[in-house]
Subunit: 452 residues, 2 copies
Amino acid sequence: MPLRTLIIGGVAAGMSAASKLKRLRPNDDIVVLEKGCDVSYGACGMPYYLSGRIPDEHKLIARTKREFEDAGIEVRLQHEVIDIDTEAKRVVALTQGERVGLCYDRLVIATGASPIRLPVPGRELRGIHTLGSLEDARGLRRALQRSDVRHVAIVGGGYIGIEIAENVREMGKEVTIIEAEERVLSTFAPFVSKAVNDTLLAHGVRVYLQETVSAYKGVDHVKQVISKQRSLNVDLVIEAVGIRPNTGFLDDAFDTVENGAIIVNETMQTSVTDVYAAGDCVAYPHKLTGTPAFVPLGTHANKAGRVIAEHIAGLKSHFDGVIGATMLKAFNLEVARAGLNLDSANKANITVHETHINARDKSGYYPGAKPMDVAVYTDPKSGRLYGAEMVGEAGVALRINTIATAIIAGMNADAFARADLAYAPPFAPVYDPLQVACMQVTTHPNKGGNDR
Amino acid sequence: MPLRTLIIGGVAAGMSAASKLKRLRPNDDIVVLEKGCDVSYGACGMPYYLSGRIPDEHKLIARTKREFEDAGIEVRLQHEVIDIDTEAKRVVALTQGERVGLCYDRLVIATGASPIRLPVPGRELRGIHTLGSLEDARGLRRALQRSDVRHVAIVGGGYIGIEIAENVREMGKEVTIIEAEERVLSTFAPFVSKAVNDTLLAHGVRVYLQETVSAYKGVDHVKQVISKQRSLNVDLVIEAVGIRPNTGFLDDAFDTVENGAIIVNETMQTSVTDVYAAGDCVAYPHKLTGTPAFVPLGTHANKAGRVIAEHIAGLKSHFDGVIGATMLKAFNLEVARAGLNLDSANKANITVHETHINARDKSGYYPGAKPMDVAVYTDPKSGRLYGAEMVGEAGVALRINTIATAIIAGMNADAFARADLAYAPPFAPVYDPLQVACMQVTTHPNKGGNDR
């Protein structure tokens, strides 16, 4: 019997679920309700669209509304869901001021997250942007293209702030990053933050650390960013201080973590029967800590969306859990991590030992070999791999997935150091940097450590 | 009590063993007997030394004889071991025409391998080179630098032949590859051979396939390469038709495979008490097939040398086995593989299923995304990963180690496809090409397959 699946949100998670479900159950009724005007776009590419490195917004769109409709998926734009009646299995959406009711057999919440806005005086001024949606990206790109926009302040030195900084700098603007923490990329290990900070400065970005924006000033349009330390004259502000799950419309029946992200199990089911969730609005099962983790990344959204479709279709499927594998381009640097570091392990009450080495991305005798810093995080007793962090000019990003795989497989440092990895002078040294790090790991079988 | 360890061969395996053992047992007597005049050089870099891409031979030398001696390791050059008395624990070496006898407590055979010479008429002519040692590389580089050397024939289209072709072409020479098999890189999957063949042609290399050299002609110096199909006028010939272990001096007490490579166990012990072997003269335990495999690569030599030192020192250590992970630069292409493909699985009586996909190395919307071809080889029943092969212009070489790790960990395609791998548009698509391939793998739980 055909089912009706309603999907709230038409970007990565929602559209993955819709596409996969339509292939698995062609006769089902699948309706996507999207608050905005765009579906299925590559949000991770938006920073590169600002500078024109990705010249055309159509390149960011994986599939158009029309293509989904041709595949038999109903897509309703500008439909904002404001209420769910989980008893009656019915949602209420607002479109052009009108309320529309829709019933469902299965519901998928894929509403994503929205940029957090700083609650400071002057926040209503024009010229203060965020980068949460393709609509945001269009507006910001138009604004940045104005020749009278010369000084751009980026509030937040996390990975989105840094990607934006690279692209805005590429447009020839003056760029200042204002970061409240004592270092950029503050969830990474300090050696990574240091390297990225150095490259930001080397590329002419001003970086103000431990500085909190207290107000924006201007008449109509923002002209100054105010902190305790200074008044910064600016032509445009981009806030990149984090995102918050779009789950405000949900009632208490949904279990969430503190920031409102919906807790899901390994088949992406929420605490409410027949309601699934995926994407930036959920807290995923974490493979290493066992607790729900807010890791809003496009890969998870895509994978989790598929899992939902497979589960609705009655197939055996599961989401494997996140370990927090990330890669980032920061000007000339590649930054990457997987699993836990000292801070995140500590927060999860897991004891890890850090081993830090310097190496080169390829054979030292091959031209263009670049230095990289590698840290691995291991169980002090068993040497089991819990995490890795790396930074360098080349060969970093793709390497992280090698050790991510080892972490997921539960390997320990010794086994990984002995693994038959490929080598050739133009690409890697005879001992891969990851293996060099793992060779240096010392274990203390009788002391401390985790017996997980 | 100090031990005396004799090490026959002073390149990768021998010198790794020597260095590590000296660190573990500083009071031991460690003597290295090297037939040639060089120790501890990076043989894998030699093709790039020919063209001057690596300008100076000293860059290839990891540590000099003097540095080893300063560390307390005795290094005797131009000592060729011609006999081992395994009962008396004594070797006989030939140096400058004289016989020298040396006793040992532990013996390490690390004599490497030598290029196979074609047994054809004219093979004694000058101008026919191989690239087996640093001495060979010096002579070949000098010869290639002569402006009257314009046409170079490379006999053999394996990976060494292709690396040499790239470098000789870079020097502006005309290059012809003559390969006896029906395709270059004949141990790789056909799609890889095809891509590499295309790029050879695109870079102006002539490639003659299924063509066997029957003679060399010339007066004193080679002038023609003769096959059934043609007489090729040449100024210089480089034979790259494979290598053969340097084990001719060993008696029957040593178990070997067909080509003479010494069979070792997981602690690199030979069939003779207190005699170890490592490097290009051994057949390593293969992690997937369980049989001894001749995989003469620098990574194994280094790792196995360490294992020997650790075992002599009484530490718990083992060699994890080879899976045949390799990467190769072929002009603008990156080529890589790990584990088994259809042919090698078939030879090992393992049934595998091939899944082949096309993908891009990074997000399609990011500038410079390059196509790549990926094949994965899996157990038809369980989907267990047995191998992968890839070719493309970017992002291939480093990716192979991700799936190599999955193969080593015994993951199946489904688990790997669900793994949390990192993603960012400048480096990878949202579904990594390796995961796309693994998502396409179909399994048939009730049909065929291996119950290993």
